[in-house]
């Protein structure tokens, strides 16, 4: 067990920092520190261009294996890349769903043909992805998916009907991975399939959801005889649940380190305000600032442990705590930001409802404890999968 970085790693750190200093400027200067949680709707085109710039330097999919077009970085170097990216103010990654979720899933479960067709676009920053999991009737009870898919008469296309919800970046995406029911009459996690669906088609309508922030990162996606090629199914029909669950494991991967660096930037802003406005003299706020700082350090140590222990690809049971911890921490940070600002926290950036960065953090972090498995679902997962406690007895229908 060792936390120091080797000389080779430190040289790599310099390489990353140098590349970012030379490239995150000019037309991209305006993107620095933008596009994070609560700000994800900003500068979509410019951030897509930035993805292509990253790709040109070989800085997308840095943790992917070289055979999939990735850089094959060691865990240490992935940590360093994410740290330097955030230190430089690298914008929220438009490609993160492709790089962190779709790509690893296709690499793990997809056919050779699917890998050839889909992975290069993710690596080159030219194909963007969104996630079609939740539905109005399938939130925490994700297996209650109602969206249906069936092969047409010729067997050449899947025809998809139904509705997804809370789909972030749907209007900016080229592809969506969709969990759909392909066995008519099946219930629960049986009979589901994992489909890759092109977004640009008449059968798909994207409708933004106006959130409590006044902004719309999330969308509803309606499938009305939407189509995708019969070959665009990952795994076999009926394997959708298994693949969807494996994907949730990828979600707790190394990309979390980049997220932590955005958290660090937010915390630094709050600390600077506390020093400037005198809040730093309040003994209770001092305790809460120290607690927030400590929590973020622990988040980092947790992910270093998870990553170091996940060399064989399988996350250990300790990894189940990750989402519950960061979401709770982040919601608390939002409240701390408002308490440090005091009465001034009320004043908007501008009418009609333009939030400051910290107001946006305060409001948007209320979604953190809901999406991707609410805190209550996370606690069920920890209790059942990590602690081996019994599942809730089901009511008989």
């Amino acid at each position: 067990m060792k936390i120091s970085f080797s000389e080779q790693d430190e040289r790599f750190r310099q390489e990353v920092a140098d590349w970012l200093a030379a490239n995150l400027c000019g037309e991209f200067e305006q993107l620095r520190f933008r596009g994070g949680p609560g700000d994800e709707h900003m500068f979509p085109e410019e951030r897509k261009a930035w993805e292509r710039k990253l790709a040109s330097g070989g800085w997308t999919c840095v943790g992917w294996a070289p055979e999939h077009g990735g850089r094959g970085l060691s865990i240490s170097q992935q940590v360093i890349f994410n740290e330097e990216y955030a230190r430089a103010g690298g914008p929220g990654r438009m490609g993160h769903i492709g790089e962190g979720l779709a790509g690893p899933t296709i690499a793990a479960f997809g056919s050779e043909d699917q890998k050839r067709r889909f992975l290069p676009g993710i690596v080159s920053g030219t194909a963007f992805w969104c996630q079609g999991y939740s539905e109005p009737g399938a939130g925490s009870d994700l297996a209650n998916v109602k969206t249906r898919a069936a092969l047409d008469e010729t067997g050449s296309n899947w025809i998809i009907n139904g509705q997804k919800v809370w789909t972030s970046l749907a209007h900016e995406s080229d592809w969506c991975f969709v969990i759909a029911r392909t066995e008519p009459g099946s219930v629960g996690h049986r009979g589901l399939s994992f489909l890759l669906v092109p977004m640009d088609q008449a059968g798909i309508t994207v409708r933004p959801i106006e959130q409590m922030t006044g902004t719309s990162e999330f969308n509803e996606v309606f499938f009305d005889n939407a189509r995708t090629d019969a070959a665009n199914i990952v795994g076999s029909p009926g394997e959708g649940w298994k693949i969807a669950m494996a994907l949730l494991g990828f979600e707790r991967g190394v990309s979390t380190l980049g997220q932590q660096m955005q958290f660090q930037n937010e915390l630094s802003e709050i600390i600077a305000i506390a020093k400037a406005n005198g809040a730093a003299r309040d003994p209770i706020l001092r305790q809460r600032l120290a607690e927030a700082w400590s929590g973020l350090r622990i988040m980092r140590y947790n992910s270093l442990r998870m990553l170091s222990g996940a060399q064989d690809g399988a996350l250990r049971k300790e990894a189940t705590i990750y989402k519950l911890f960061w979401s709770t921490w982040h919601a608390n940070l939002g409240k701390l930001a408002m308490d440090v600002l005091g009465a001034g926290a009320e004043l908007l950036e501008a009418a009609p409802y333009q939030l400051t960065r910290l107001q946006s953090l305060y409001l948007f972090s209320r979604a953190d404890t809901l999406y991707g498995g609410s805190n209550e679902i996370q606690r069920n997962i920890i209790a059942e999968r990590a602690l081996g406690m019994p599942k809730e007895p089901r009511l008989r229908p």
Partner: protein, 390 residues
């Protein structure tokens, strides 16, 4: 960077776990905790001569195994799980680091081989009050002739009544704060030292009061420079916090495991109470805290490793003040929270003397305040992150 145990470290962990499950079970803890000494001498000799535990982080040149603080932490976590009653913590986490950081070659040669082979137990006496800062060093040391004369009283000395070697902090009369503090190593049986066991609520660890009445020490007893001992003492206390945090992590893990096992067994309303979501969520929150405590503890152990290693990474070693404050605050709160929860989750039997949760609940509270409560450590963190001190 590899933040996971090596194969060798995993072997150390597994062997400690197995050994302690046999020798420090509930009956053994309850037998040891009612003796005045506070531990079983025979078991202590086995820890030393069969397992070589006190030698683990002592350099080979002084009779040790030459491993580091990470390996030490691995043992402490398992000891915490089993509430091992022993002089290990005071000897290995307080006195040994003081000798390693502040002692000269002759002093290390004089004391470390005995600690390594188990013939010497040791502790650190520094605070004269109820706090853990430099200003709480109240005892005095005056240079006289070739040596020093020490006077004063120490409170909260772990195993102070039974240790063979005392590391003592005393200050030059009239000095304040971090100035004027010196460290000494002295045979605890010296006639000018009076030691008194203080019965405590937590019976698994002993505290003593120590009084020095004109204790005369030769120049060879002084560790480091006269009057300039605070930086070493501060680092020793920070290392001890990291050791304590490891024990706390182990204790918290154990009460979680005990609680889950009990909830699986206990039936009410026709089903195991472990199937009730209200209890599952409480257990999940305990696990969340335990894993965060473990991460903080391991990270701090890696920092401590570099501090004790003369060739260690200086940049990592410089993280000691924050890493130790973070680990101590986090692990203290986690242990207390989990121990308190374990009583509630055990229901009525959790309140009995017969079941174990109360032993952990008491140990958790004692170790929460020893070497500084969470709020005190967080205030230190606040002053650093707010740029008020380096």
């Amino acid at each position: 960077m590899e933040f996971a145990f090596s194969d060798e470290q995993e072997m150390i962990r597994a062997s400690a776990e197995g050994f302690l499950a046999n020798v420090s079970d509930c009956a053994a803890v309850r037998a040891a905790m009612v003796t005045e000494q506070g531990y079983d001498s025979e078991l202590w000799q086995r820890l030393c001569s069969e397992m070589y535990w006190p030698a683990i982080h002592i350099p080979e040149a002084f009779g040790g195994l030459g491993l580091g603080f990470v390996e030490l932490t691995i043992l402490l976590e398992q000891m915490g799980r089993r509430l091992l009653c022993s002089p290990f913590f005071a000897t290995a986490c307080m006195a040994t680091p003081a000798l390693l950081l502040a002692g000269n070659e002759a002093q290390k040669n004089a004391w470390l081989p005995g600690i390594a082979d188990g013939s010497v137990t040791a502790t650190l006496a520094f605070t004269g009050g109820n706090g853990w800062s430099a200003e709480d060093v109240h005892a005095t040391a005056i240079a006289e002739g070739e040596g020093y004369v020490l006077n004063g009283t120490f409170s909260h000395v772990i195993d102070g009544h039974s240790a063979d070697l005392l590391i003592i902090a005393a200050r030059t009369p009239g000095s304040t704060g971090e100035a004027g503090i010196s460290l000494f190593a002295v045979d605890a049986t010296h006639a000018a030292i009076e030691r008194q066991w203080l019965p405590t609520m937590d019976q698994t660890r002993r505290l003593a009061r120590i009084q020095l009445d004109g204790l005369y020490l030769g120049a060879d007893a002084l560790l480091g420079e006269f009057g300039a001992g605070w930086p070493d003492l501060e680092r020793v206390l920070q290392l001890a916090c990291i050791g304590l945090a490891a024990e706390q992590t182990g204790g918290a893990q154990q009460v979680l495991d005990l609680s889950v096992a009990y909830m699986q067994e206990r039936q009410q309303f026709g089903r195991p109470i472990a199937s009730f979501q209200a209890l599952k969520h409480r257990a999940a929150d305990m696990m969340l805290q335990v894993e965060c405590a473990r991460s903080a503890s391991y990270y701090a152990a890696c920092v401590a490793q570099e501090v004790l290693d003369p060739q260690g990474d200086g940049q990592v070693a410089a993280e000691l003040p924050l890493a130790s404050a973070l680990a101590k605050a986090q692990c203290s709160e986690t242990y207390f929270h989990c121990a308190a929860e374990s009583i509630q989750l055990h229901g009525g039997v959790g309140f009995t003397w017969e079941y174990d949760p109360h032993l952990y609940f008491k140990r958790a509270r004692a170790s929460e305040s020893f070497l500084g409560a969470p709020a005190w450590h967080r205030e230190r963190i606040a002053s650093v992150i707010l740029g008020e001190q380096p």
